[in-house]
Structures are given as structure tokens and as C-alpha cells.
């Protein structure tokens, strides 16, 4: 059984976001890129399954659609323990073109489980997983918080508003993964880091579909105003401020 984990290359969470070209493109200078946190957790769970002989999972491949500048992030995934890596050589596209590109690779390489994080922490699109299942005409399961595989049988726990749902699904399927799938992301061991330096990343040509959407401009959320502290013994001041300054009562 083979697992494919889709990984996004996203700016580290502490990055200060800036735009260039009159707010039409993201300024990536000086940005530290990391594996999208949800994808990192999917990868961790996939590796746990591979390391458990009872699961029947034999290998874990990671795939990324994007330019060569993403290779350090892909190598990080190899260092953490992925057996193999694929990069679809395309400029960053929208969810539609990314999902189409990945679907092409899955068609030719045959994976049993395809995992995507629920969203990427940069554009928060939340679309690739579902689109991928549509392209491949295979089942998809969303909101996965637990994934168990034993001898080829898949049991999934989904978080819903009402509680938990336990589902089973035939192979192959595309899974969209929530936090909780793994306790904490796996870190790279020394031998993994050393091996990852020399592993081959397989390159596929750009996918079959062009992006359907494009970004017109970016805007940052307005900066939050400073917080005012009012002494607990002074409720009158609070009422005064709410009435006359904030004008909410």
C-alpha cells in the first residue's frame, strides 16, 4: 500500500507579510519557508503507519506543485522520513491547476491513500483535496482527525459539529486532514537529514490545466487599536468610554 502526502510550501508563521507591485503580489524576500503545518501532521501520521508493520503501508511519497525554490522544503519532508518525493514543476497556481497536476501523477503512479491538509496556512484555500478526488473520481473524506489502517482496511474518525463520526472507505481515496491526526509533527533524525541531501526529487512537467482564478490585489487586516485598561474600582469611566468614545451604548 502506498500513501501520497501533498505538501504546500508556506511562509513560517512568524513571517511579516508584505506586498509588492502595488499590493498585487506577495513579497517573498527574506521569507523562511516551511512545510504547511497540516501537511506536516499528515506526513507524520503517514510515517507512523508505514513504520507499523500491521498497517500494510509500504511507502510514503510526498508531492509538491511549485517552482524549484521549494526544494529545501521537500528535502525537509525527506529528512523527516518520506521515502520518495515528486515535484510538479509549475509556477504557483490556484487550487484547480494544482489538483489537476497532482491527479495526473496519481493516475500514472497509483497511490492508495492521498492525504491533503485541510488548508494551507498562507492562502487558506481548502480546495485541493476535494478537487483532487473529483479529478480522479475516487471517494474523498474530509475533516479527518484520526486515520487507522490495518491490513488494508481504513478506519477514519471525523470531527463534526455534533461529535465524532467513524467511517470506513474503500481504496483508493483522498483524505483531507485536520489537526489531531498526529500528536505533534515528527522531527528529522540525523541519518534522515544526511540521506535527504542526496535523495533524488522526481520532476514532472507542469500539470494539464491552467489556473482558473488569479489575485487582483492583497490587503492586510487593519491594525488592532491599543487596548485601554480601566481600573476595576472605576466603572463610571468604563460607561463613559463606551458611551462617548466607542458609542456602543
Amino acid at each position: 500500500m502506498k500513501i501520497l502526502v501533498c505538501i504546500s510550501n508556506v511562509p513560517d508563521t512568524t513571517t511579516k507579510i508584505r506586498f509588492t507591485g502595488e499590493n498585487t503580489s506577495f513579497d517573498s524576500s527574506g521569507v523562511q519557508w516551511v512545510i504547511n503545518p497540516w501537511d506536516e501532521l499528515s506526513l507524520t501520521r503517514a510515517l507512523e503507519l508505514r513504520d507499523d508493520p500491521a498497517s500494510g503501508v509500504k511507502s510514503v511519497t510526498v508531492i509538491h506543485s511549485g517552482p524549484a525554490s521549494a526544494e529545501p522544503t521537500i528535502r525537509k519532508a525527506l529528512a523527516i522520513g518520506a521515502d520518495d518525493a515528486v515535484r510538479i514543476d509549475s509556477p504557483s497556481g490556484d487550487a484547480y491547476s494544482v489538483a489537476a497536476g497532482i491527479a495526473e501523477v496519481v493516475r500514472s503512479e497509483q497511490y492508495d491513500i492521498i492525504l491533503c491538509g485541510v488548508e494551507s496556512s498562507d492562502y487558506n484555500g481548502s480546495m485541493v483535496g476535494g478537487m483532487l478526488a473529483e479529478f480522479l473520481e475516487i471517494p474523498s473524506v474530509s475533516g479527518i482527525s484520526e486515520l487507522n489502517v490495518e491490513g488494508g482496511n481504513v478506519t477514519i474518525t471525523r470531527e463534526t459539529d455534533e461529535g465524532k463520526e467513524i467511517v470506513s472507505v474503500p481504496l483508493p481515496f483522498a483524505g483531507v486532514v485536520q489537526k489531531g491526526i498526529a500528536k505533534e509533527p515528527r522531527i528529522a533524525a540525523m541519518r534522515g537529514i544526511m540521506m535527504a541531501r542526496s535523495k533524488q526529487i522526481r520532476i514532472y512537467e507542469s500539470g494539464p490545466e491552467e489556473s482558473l482564478t488569479g489575485i487582483k490585489s492583497f490587503e492586510k487586516p487593519p491594525a488592532r487599536d491599543a487596548c485601554k485598561f480601566i481600573d476595576a474600582d472605576n466603572p463610571e469611566q468604563l460607561i463613559d468610554l463606551l458611551q462617548n468614545e466607542a458609542k456602543v451604548i
Binding site: 516551511v34 540525523m190 544526511m194 541531501r197
Partner: protein
């Protein structure tokens, strides 16, 4: 002649059995790693004279220390008499060394007196062990065997001393009554033989002969008991002190195999080149007995299970599983188990057990604060923390296993250059509110200027709300003194200290090599730090990676300027003479011996210093060192920071002064926990100085 033959045979048997049993233990050294190379014989001899023969560290507990020193010195003197007995026994002579004249007289007299003192000490020891409930002698690792072993050894020593005194009494009585010359002086025995006026010369002769044989045969037996006992320490403690490390205890050894790898990765030419198999060491860190260095194994053989290390271990004191004594006993026991298997089946043999996990749990390993209290206390200079960190290195580098909090720290350091999740762009946030400009290195460099000092702010100074105030206080002092300095601002990044102490040597070296390259690019020569952990790393660990800089603690810097009259306190800190207690940060104190500067500064500020019970080299860790700051504490009965805060509160000081960001966090939390944060302030030395300067 028959007597000589019997003697020679017993001596031969003794030597043969001893070499066999000692050889059994010593042959396992061949499985250990060579790494550690002790040089500098001169300093080592001094160290050995001081710590081994001078017994300086055992005197850290004065009463039992004195008793042990008497036993040790007694043995050193009495051994001359034993050598004389062996020669006499072989050659049929009597008191063969008497030709030494006054020296012989002195050695015999000293041995005679010491025999009594040793006997008395041993009786006290036996009383303490059997009748008194001393916590230090108990613990998870102390089995019935450990107790009986100690009592057997002590009883043997007592019998040795009794037989020695009986022998000397018989000898002096026999000689006196027969009017022959007494070779040597025996003040105690001469007096004792006078107490038996009814005895004849022959009776004394029989006593002498019987005691002579009893004594020498006991020596032979004792020598052969030792290799089977923890008291093998009698033979190995002096060499162990001689071979112990001379560098500051805060320094961890550099893993060369990792340096090679990091340099390859940092060079774009080789970054993605294949790794050749021959540079891969067979194992990173220590998993099992054969991964340990020869000095680790020698440490374990030198351990006599006195438990002084465990009794000062902050983790153990607060009820956690870790016991430094157990770590040493476990290594010894594991080697004893696996050594014979490796001799039979080769070094690569696996019995599917290992030192880590089957003997020492991860929970124990992660509980260490690397405070170095254990090694500071050990009378024979055993180095427990290095072994613990080497086992952490195995867990992290080989198994990628670490507590969740530390994994997050690793990611943060790797991605944003700080143990916390903050952007490097906010590194100058601490300067907000200062009424002067803090010079930034890149700006000065662009203007072709070079400052004298680099002020290294550290991640806590840059991001921790409380410690930002300390960074501001120290910058205020620098500004007040008109010092030529600059900070790195957004170019600053973690030194790698928490990663290294958490076993992630790879990440440490990536950070270190990056920082060293940055320092070189600006031609940095002198670095002032306000963080003891950064200070220790720069001073003791960067030189191994060719980063040699003059590293100055802000405390030394402030002290110098006060002493030289450039900083003049106008009022004592905290409005008038206030009672201050000082908490020694482990990485200034034990790790680097900086005890006097902070105390001197506090005195100059006009404060009354109230010392805590455990201070200076005995100070209790705050609980945050060794990357503990960033993870949950292991299960125990109490938090370390509460134990330490309670001790500080007992001094009734109104200010707890500290000099470390982690200690600051811990003690501030402790004060909150005890609901005392309104009356008692936790302030950094730099803040007290700024207050008293009226700045």
C-alpha cells in the same frame, strides 16, 4: 622457611585472583569510545593533589568529610607498614624498613595513631548506616546488595584496624618484656601493651604472630573483595580525579561528525551532494554501554554510591525519577551484563537490550536541568551531566525522539531563530520607550564604523516582556557610560544553547556556525551578554567551532565600572538599605565560577545581602536550565522553582536578585504561586543598578 613459603603462596594466590577479577572489569574498556584525550599533566597533578589527596570536595560536608579524610589519609600511611610486612613475609626479616630511621619511626607512629582514628571513623560510619536513617543512602537504585556491600567493606576495614593495633600491641609488649629494641614508634600500642601487666613476652609474641597473619591475610582478602564491590573505588578514585576534565563544567563536547555534516550542508557546492557512508558514525550519542567513552566507564567504576550527587540534584530533591547516582550505577551494571556477551560474540552483538530504556528511562534523561550540581558535589569528579546529554543526543539524533515542547523549540529555532515563535523582525522591540537610540551593527557597518563591544541581547531580552526591561536597563547603563557598542537587531539569532542541551547537536551547530560567520563579517572582538546561557555557549563552546571572541558577562562589566568609579550609586536600590538575596544562575556560577561579581555589585549598591541556605556552588537550580524552560516538568512531588522560591523567601529579603532570564521567569512564577509578588520583588542586577544610579 615454611612460614616464608606459606606467605609467598598466599601472596601469589592473592595477586593471581586480583589480576583475574580486576582484569574482568578492566577488559571492558576495549569496547568504549576513545574521544576524550586528557592532556596537561601538570594541572592534573595539582588537581589530584588537591581533590584526591587533599580530599577537598569530600569536605563539602565537614563532619563526614573529616571522618572519610581520616580513613583515606590513614590508608595512605598504613600502606607503608603493609609493604614492610610483605617484604618481611617473603624474606623472613623483621621490620625491614627500619633502616629508614626517623622516617620509619614517623610512619609507624602515624600508622599506629591513624589505625585508631580509622577504626573510630568506621564505627561512626557503620552506626550511621545501620542505626540512622540517612536519606542519601536510600533510593530506587539502592538495593539490599548495595547496603550489605557497604557494611561488609566497613566491617573488613574495622577488622583490619583492630588486627593492626593488636599486632603492634603484641610487638611492643614482646619487645619491651624481652628487652629488645623496638623498631619504630607506636604510641597507642605501647600504651595498650602496658595495660596487660600479667602477660608474658611469649603471650605478646603469640598475639603478635596471630595478629600479623590475621592482618596480612585480611589485606589479601580485602584486596580481592574490592573488585567485586562498589569499593573498587579505593583503586580507581585517585586515577579518576587525575583524569577528570579540566575545562569549565558548563562546556559540552563538540560532536565532530556533526560539524562535518553541517559544514557540507552550509556550503552550496556540497549541500545536495551524496553522503559517503564512511563519514557516518556507527551511532550518534550513547544508546548502550559500548557507545560510552572510556572516561564515562571509568567514572562508573569510581562511583562508590555515596549519593552526594543525588542529594543535591534538583530533579531528585523534588521527587522526580532522575538520580545521577543511578545513571552511573546503571552504566556499570549494563557493562557488566553486556561486556561478557561482547567478549564472546563480538562488539556488534545485540541482546535486544540497551542502557537507554532498559536501564535508564527517557523520563529520567529529560528531567536533568544540566545544572551541574551533581558533578560539583562528587568527591571524585565524576561527570554525570555529560553522560546524560550524550544519551539525549542519541534519542534526538538517532530516533528523532524528544518531549513535544522541545520539538516545537527545535522548529522555532530552525524557522525563526528563537526558541519562541516570534519574528526576527521584532528583535528590536525591547528598545521601545528608551529615550536614546540603540546603535545597530548593520547601520554602523554601512557608515564604516566599528563599535568596541557587541551587546548580545539574547532571545529573552528581545522577546520576553519581563526580560526586555532588563535589556533596557543594561542599554541604559551602556548609554550612561558612553560605551562604544552596537546590537545585531534583526540579525541576531539563537546561539543554539537550548538545542544542544536538549540533544539536538545538529541544530546547535547550524546556529553556532551561522552566528560565528555573522560575528566575523562584522569583525566582532568583544561580546557582552546579559544571558548566562549565551555567555556560557560563546565562552566555552564556540571555540570548538573556531569562534574565538572575548566574552564578557554584564555582571563583570558593571562591577569593573563600579570599582573604577565610573558608575556611582546615589541611593541603595529599593529606597534605602534593603535586604537582598541573590540567586546564583547555574550557568554563571557552577558552570563558570562567577560568584563574586554580583555580590560585590549588590554590596556597592548598599544592600544587605542575605544568603540562602544553598548558595554559590551549592545553589539550587531554578529548574529551567538544560532546555527545561521549554517543556513540561517530569512527574514529581514538587516543582523545582517552588522549592527555590521558598528557600529565597525564608531569607526574608524584600528583593530576590537574579541575573538570568530563565531564573527570572521561574522565580517570578514562584512568587506568584506563593502569593508574595506584591511584597517581594524579583529584580535583575542590571535593574537594581539602574535604580540606584537614579537613571
Amino acid at each position: 622457611m615454611v612460614r616464608q613459603i606459606i606467605f609467598a603462596i598466599s601472596l601469589l594466590i592473592t595477586l593471581a585472583v586480583f589480576s583475574w577479577s580486576a582484569g574482568r572489569i578492566m577488559r571492558y574498556f576495549r569496547f568504549t569510545k576513545s574521544g576524550y584525550k586528557p592532556g596537561n599533566a601538570g594541572r592534573r597533578i595539582l588537581l589530584m593533589m588537591k581533590v584526591a589527596f587533599g580530599q577537598t570536595k569530600i569536605f563539602r560536608r565537614p563532619v563526614t568529610g573529616l571522618l572519610h579524610a581520616l580513613v583515606f589519609w590513614g590508608f595512605c600511611i598504613i600502606i607503608f607498614g603493609s609493604i614492610e610486612m610483605v617484604i618481611d613475609g617473603l624474606t623472613g626479616t623483621e621490620k625491614v624498613l627500619k633502616f629508614l630511621g626517623p622516617l620509619h619511626d614517623f610512619l609507624m607512629a602515624a600508622g599506629d595513631i591513624f589505625a585508631v582514628m580509622v577504626a573510630v571513623s568506621v564505627i561512626v560510619f557503620l552506626f550511621r548506616r545501620i542505626m540512622m536513617n540517612i536519606p542519601r543512602f536510600e533510593g530506587r537504585e539502592m538495593k539490599r546488595r548495595s547496603h550489605s556491600d557497604a557494611n561488609i567493606s566497613l566491617s573488613l576495614i574495622l577488622l583490619l584496624m583492630i588486627s593492626l593495633i593488636a599486632m603492634n600491641t603484641g610487638y611492643t609488649g614482646m619487645k619491651r618484656l624481652s628487652g629488645e629494641e623496638i623498631a619504630g614508634v607506636y604510641p597507642v600500642s605501647f600504651f595498650l601493651s602496658g595495660l596487660f601487666p600479667t602477660f608474658r613476652a611469649e603471650t605478646f609474641g603469640i598475639i603478635h604472630e596471630a595478629s600479623w597473619w590475621t592482618h596480612i591475610l585480611l589485606i589479601f582478602f580485602f584486596a580481592n573483595y574490592l573488585p567485586w564491590s562498589k569499593h573498587f573505588h579505593v583503586f580507581l578514585s585517585v586515577p579518576n580525579v587525575f583524569l577528570s576534565r579540566l575545562d569549565p563544567p558548563g562546556r559540552l563536547t563538540n560532536m565532530e561528525s556533526i560539524t562535518r555534516e553541517v559544514r557540507l550542508m552550509m556550503d552550496p557546492e556540497t549541500a545536495f551532494a551524496a553522503t559517503s557512508q564512511d563519514v557516518m558514525p556507527e551511532r550518534f550519542g550513547i544508546k548502550d554501554a559500548e557507545d560510552a567513552g572510556w572516561k564515562n566507564y571509568l567514572d562508573s567504576l569510581s562511583c562508590t554510591e555515596c549519593g552526594r550527587c543525588t542529594s543535591v540534584c534538583p530533579a531528585n530533591i523534588t521527587g522526580k525519577l532522575l538520580s545521577p547516582r543511578k545513571i552511573m550505577m546503571d552504566l556499570r551494571a549494563r557493562m557488566k551484563e553486556k561486556g561478557p556477551l561482547m567478549i564472546r560474540n563480538g562488539r556488534d552483538y545485540s541482546d535486544n537490550r540497551s542502557l537507554v530504556r532498559d536501564y535508564i528511562s527517557e523520563e529520567e534523561l529529560w528531567a536533568c536541568t544540566t545544572c551541574n550540581a551533581c558533578t560539583a558535589e562528587c568527591p571524585v569528579n565524576i561527570d554525570q551531566p555529560s553522560l546524560i546529554v550524550d544519551m539525549r543526543r542519541y534519542l534526538v539524533l538517532e530516533e528523532a525522539s524528544a518531549p513535544g515542547g522541545l520539538k516545537a523549540v527545535f522548529s522555532n529555532i530552525e524557522n525563526n531563530g528563537a526558541p519562541w515563535q516570534y519574528s526576527a523582525e521584532d528583535r528590536l522591540g525591547w528598545c521601545d520607550g528608551l529615550d536614546f537610540e540603540v546603535p545597530v551593527m548593520a547601520d554602523l557597518h554601512a557608515a564604516d564604523k566599528k563599535p568596541e563591544y557587541l551587546f548580545w541581547v539574547g532571545c529573552a531580552g528581545a522577546f520576553d516582556d519581563r526580560y526586555r526591561k532588563v535589556a533596557r536597563a543594561f542599554a541604559t547603563i551602556l548609554n550612561h557610560l558612553n560605551i562604544s557598542y552596537a546590537v545585531l537587531g534583526r540579525e541576531e539569532t539563537c546561539t543554539g544553547d537550548p538545542a544542544r542541551r536538549a540533544g539536538n547537536e545538529m541544530l546547535f551547530q547550524m546556529q553556532a556556525l551561522q552566528v560565528i560567520a555573522l560575528f566575523r563579517s562584522y569583525g566582532v572582538e568583544k561580546i557582552i551578554t546579559i544571558c548566562p546561557h549565551c555567555y556560557n555557549t560563546f565562552r566555552n563552546e564556540y571555540p570548538d567551532l573556531d569562534g574565538n571572541f572575548e566574552v564578557i558577562s554584564y555582571l563583570g562589566f558593571i562591577r569593573r565600572h563600579i570599582d573604577e568609579g565610573r558608575l556611582v550609586p546615589v541611593s541603595a536600590a529599593g529606597n534605602g538599605k534593603c535586604r537582598v538575596t541573590y540567586h546564583d544562575p547555574c550557568y554563571l556560577g557552577r558552570a563558570n565560577g562567577l560568584y563574586d561579581d554580583p555580590r560585590r555589585i549588590l554590596q556597592k549598591l548598599g544592600n544587605n545581602i542575605a544568603e540562602m541556605g544553598r548558595n554559590r556552588s551549592r545553589a539550587l537550580c531554578c529548574g529551567a536550565g538544560g532546555a527545561q524552560m521549554f517543556k513540561e516538568a517530569e512527574k514529581g512531588e514538587k516543582e523545582i522553582f517552588i522549592e527555590r522560591t521558598e528557600e529565597a523567601l525564608r531569607t526574608e529579603a524584600s528583593v530576590i536578585a537574579s541575573a538570568c532570564p530563565f531564573c527570572m521567569t521561574m522565580i517570578t512564577d514562584g512568587l506568584k504561586y506563593k502569593n508574595r509578588e506584591d511584597e517581594v520583588k524579583n529584580l535583575d542586577i542590571a535593574e537594581l543598578v539602574v535604580q540606584s544610579l537614579g537613571l
